[in-house]
Subunit: 424 residues, 2 copies
């Protein structure tokens, strides 16, 4: 699918993608945009000019400063807007007058990506972090308790998608710097209070909820995908020393609540349709509420993590969204099984997406065997030396990128990046 | 402190109390009110009539449908409004013209409590449930693992206030019915999927945050009380079978996310000032960030739990807010120690407030030794027989009430009640 807008082969944002985000410029307040090539299209302006067709009672939702109201309209509306945008933007558009040949409107509605500042795309009511990565779970079990299997530590692991409630207030958009957190943890058997010494990242994939459900109702697994507005990359920054000390009874708390970073562009389910794949099989028979008819319920999207340090960039890990034993649909069905309400804007993440080998480890806890075996990270510019890390250092920048490539062009996520500042 | 409004000796709402809530009537949308005697005072109307004095830029906050904007103004404003209300309402008021002798305004602004419907008082961003009840922790440790101490299960228990992130979307106001949740759990060694069989309540005390803090900053323990807008009772309904099966690695999730009930009236710190008491001592030396200068940092407020069943009311337990090893100030200091932002409207709870004896157990898990020793609950009307419970049954109503009584009159919380409906 070609567009009259120039789209480089290396661009994440093909005509097949069209992800939503919230952007602002020096001259405009935060508003809804769609990325294509090197541009953001200002949907507020297109909606005001009436070129997006009749959205009925949802017409005003595209003029707001978050995506919540628009996401709540449901997938039929999103599908219609996507088709309209593709029709307007395709190379041989029949609707050239509306946008392509309307230079004054193009001047207003197209903003170079290099000129915009991105914001958190949705107001997040609750944020849930699942733990459905197969290799991450198996490896971490052995690290937490040498010789232990994940089923010994967590008998339900293969029977249901386990999760903890994350901290919505600490979710930030990519490029927001974070401070190394202070906390309590033992060092050589002695309890200390001070800056975290085992700061880590976690490579995750997450969805934003479009339509929610009411308290006391459940979402059926086979219709659960209708509740997903779209997907982002997520870095669940983790303070391993704080986390391991605090979490034995109630799960992660301060070890995870100092910052969680998401990529700014919400990629829609429609854009990812051709990258479907089955999740990893669980070895247990599932109860009916988790049996999903659609077999290809996960996605095959490679995610790369890199480290920026000393002015260089180093390869850290290659993960994939397919390393999960449950799909998002199964996660939503389980999340609401007891009647818990999901709301528009809720953020639901997979947990760490490690693959089977050390170079596929989605966090340093795994990659460095709990910090005991520092990992050699290879410089992208081979002229510079490599770098070793046990855990993250101040001023390190961790960046995730992800791109699925198909016949329709690249469907990429932009980047999910954060720089570590010293502890306050 | 006497008022010209008749206040019964059995009323929770003396002139010393003046708690805030959100109410509506058949004729009015949700709005801010203050309870006194058998009435709600409509603060929107008082603000519009200008009898509350000049609130500066905060003047419009009392005309909103939640307490968030008002709570964010900070304690100086709240203190001024409280003083103004007490001056207007005291028996020998010098400002009789403004309200007492202004019958048309009284007719508009005073609404009988029996005519109002109460709503959730604040929009809750995040909800955090701590676990700082001494007796609850000690007893539950032995139930989860016979012979185990709480420090064996949770080495940090006495060193820091532990907590898990709760589910904000499932917090409801008193009188909202709840469904018995469905879930997965083992029964006699076999995994089943269906309605919870071990449904429980938990007696808790909670605060709503007034002013928050920014990401990457911490709240100092000695100024933390300034961030508290006020207090409510809370029932952290728990599905013990679902919880015990799912929570071994990541803490409580579906076992707690089907419903959490709060009482509708937010009692202010000023109203509770004379009921201060020291928390229980922890046996460990605390790090500096948790050392609070003010010794009387907890409260002495008895909370009673009753069961409504068969048209009767039975006494279940007598707890007290003083059964904690950490104060709210210490909880907030710890919560933000790593830089986690609190926001206006966040709900922060203590965990279960059991006392030392069986009749002080704040949940059935403790009171019935994990369901193995059903508890005989005494009818308030001695003519009817008692009732026995291992766990809760469908149509049971659990109600918490709490009242501190001092020279200034009663400072009560109204009630925190919920009725259990069958599983969907």
């Amino acid at each position: 699918m070609a567009s009259w807008i120039p789209i480089a082969e290396t661009s994440d944002f093909s005509l097949q993608n069209l992800p939503y985000g919230i952007f602002s410029t020096d001259n405009s307040d935060p508003r809804i945009g769609v990325a294509i090539g090197e541009y953001v299209i200002d949907l507020k302006i297109l909606a005001e000019e009436g070129v997006l067709g009749n959205l009925g009672s949802g017409g005003d939702t595209l003029k707001q400063s978050t995506l919540n109201a628009y996401a709540a309209l449901g997938k039929d509306v999103h599908s219609r807007v996507r088709q309209t945008l593709q029709r307007l933007l395709e190379k041989d558009t029949q609707s050239g007058d509306a946008l392509r040949d309307n230079q004054p409107l193009r001047d207003k509605a197209f903003v170079p990506l290099s000129n915009v500042r991105m914001h958190l795309p949705m107001v997040i009511g609750d944020y849930t972090d699942f733990f459905v990565g197969l290799h991450h779970a198996v490896t971490c079990a052995g690290l937490v308790k040498p010789g232990a299997t994940i089923e010994q530590l967590c008998p339900c692991f293969y029977n249901l998608p386990i999760a903890y409630n994350g901290r919505a207030s600490s979710v930030v958009v990519s490029e927001t710097p974070l401070h190394r957190p202070n906390g309590q943890f033992p060092v050589d058997g002695k309890l200390v209070s001070g800056p975290c010494r085992k700061l880590d990242f976690e490579v995750e994939f997450a969805c934003f909820i479009g339509r929610g459900n009411e308290l006391g109702t459940s979402i059926e697994v086979d219709s659960a995908e209708d509740h997903i507005f779209g997907f982002v990359l997520m870095n669940d920054w983790s303070a391993r020393d704080i986390q391991m000390y605090e979490a034995t009874l109630m799960g992660p708390f301060n070890g995870k609540s100092f910052c969680t970073t998401v990529s700014p562009w919400i990629v829609t389910p429609e854009a990812l349709e051709s990258f479907r794949v089955a999740p990893k099989k669980t070895p247990r028979e599932l109860p009916e509420y988790l049996v999903q008819k659609k077999e290809k319920s996960a996605y095959n999207i490679p995610i790369r993590a890199t480290l920026g340090a000393n002015g260089q960039r180093y390869r850290v890990a290659d993960c994939n969204t397919n390393n999960v034993i449950f799909s998002f649909a199964q996660m939503l069905a389980h999340h609401t099984r007891g009647g818990c309400p999901l709301r528009t804007g809720d953020l639901i993440a997979t947990g760490t997406l490690s693959g089977p080998e050390r170079e596929n480890a989605g966090c340093l806890l795994e990659q460095t065997r709990g910090g005991t075996e520092p990992y050699e990270m290879i410089a992208e510019n081979s002229a510079t030396g490599n770098v070793r890390r046990a855990y993250l250092e101040d001023n390190d920048v961790i960046t995730f990128t992800a791109r699925a490539s198909g016949r329709g062009g690249n469907v990429g996520f932009g980047s999910c990046a954060g720089k570590i500042l010293p502890a306050p």
